[in-house]
Symmetry: C2
Subunit: 258 residues, 2 copies
Amino acid sequence: MQSFPLERDGLVPVYVQIRKRLLDRITSGDLKAGDLMPSEQEISGTLGVSRMTARQAVKSLCDWGIAYSMRGKGTFVSPVKLEKNFRQAQSFTEEMNALGFRPSSQVFALKAERAPTEVAEALKAGRNSEVIRLDRLRLANSKPMGIECAYLLHSMCPGLIHVFDPQASLYETLWKQFGLSIAVADEIVEVGLPSAAAASLLRISRNKPVFLFTRVSYARRGHSMQAVEYVKSTYRGDRYKIANRLTRAKLKLAGISV
Amino acid sequence: MQSFPLERDGLVPVYVQIRKRLLDRITSGDLKAGDLMPSEQEISGTLGVSRMTARQAVKSLCDWGIAYSMRGKGTFVSPVKLEKNFRQAQSFTEEMNALGFRPSSQVFALKAERAPTEVAEALKAGRNSEVIRLDRLRLANSKPMGIECAYLLHSMCPGLIHVFDPQASLYETLWKQFGLSIAVADEIVEVGLPSAAAASLLRISRNKPVFLFTRVSYARRGHSMQAVEYVKSTYRGDRYKIANRLTRAKLKLAGISV
DNA sequence: CTGCACTAGATGTATAGACAAGTTGATTGT
DNA sequence: ACAATCAACTTGTCTATACATCTAGTGCAG
């Protein structure tokens, strides 16, 4: 643990500073997988904070799966490596940037229309709700990766048609222009064969398997969680794969298995 | 909040009891999505616990995504429904049971062999490690769903070949016979076309797209996380889909995006 | 050498209090 | 009528303490 003093100016909570120091020791390799981390008492004494504050820092690392505690023994660094490319609710743009590819898009539809039944139901909107439809071919390093057909609730982002830059990230635009931050998304993944139009755009033959995604994204707006976006995507099977980390359900006592 | 007293016998922590009461109010519909939950002070006063204990109960609900807090306003029930069928690190058996199907298996290989290079690397075991290979056709309601080819470290489950019941759940056997509890698994999902053998077993033609899973499962044994199982699976694309819940990365301040 | 008791140290739980900071609505002064 | 202020209530952070429970080692009695 570095011993230079913590900042008590109230700008950054003390437990966040402690957590950052612990994370730095893990990412720098000073603390390796399976290593014993400093105990709560030790942190408390070294940095001059109460044990509960030290505990708050350690516990949040455990909540994130970066460490785990064993009663009576101590807290250890989790041996399962942290990998960046586990799919989060991030946009194609962010995902490709994280993987080191250069993302781009070709917009071939951007217009307002009545929500199809399937879309209206998924977004829990009225049958005749107006949506903005955005069809894009997605490319990484100029090679076609997939097609995305997005439906956005017009009421949540009025005027998107006029302010949207075809090369910009949709999620970034939603945030900067409309204050919408996509917090969670439910996604169904299926396999299939591409439609004739999709095969042509993706430059593959129609008998090549593809990923089919159906996604509903939710934004936190004030204190309500609002369905904002419905997307159907087709991605090339030879250029795309999904990495998932599966974790055992946490809840059994409570009767809900999350 | 029910007002009958909490049990202070130390068997069940007080904050777990409080959490259970809050969860009961949510699952029973007493508290609906978007509703304001009782404040920490209110819980503290009503149940006669300290505010920090009440807070611990509320915070764990927030950690699980069941509720969310806003400073100055209160804590609200999260509007996104809890669904049971989001893929966890559960076995085929558990998954099919949860979906209401009747799972079964046909074992067509169960033998000890030297780990192939790919398997040895994934399990972080020596080149000549002995593994147990278990090939199974998986069926739901007697219809073929997929093929799983599992490699298990022999050192972690010696004698599995003799005690394994072909109709039992592998994970259940690992737990009951060897004390191995699969805690986390990393999975790669790809799409492809089935091999001739796979197509025949799955009773599909070779041009039907399939899911290809590659999975490494880890068990917590003592205080170390040990790779135990390497599985390659082929699942029928017309009978299988994946439901994922994607959540925004929590960490930005700390410099790690989990 | 075996086995039991004890101890030091670790996390888990619980309490009581304090202050900071954000929200909301009522009150008060202009 | 309007605007600024204040009061009450919320969550967020931090401290100091206490006891429970589990682990691992030490040492002593047998």
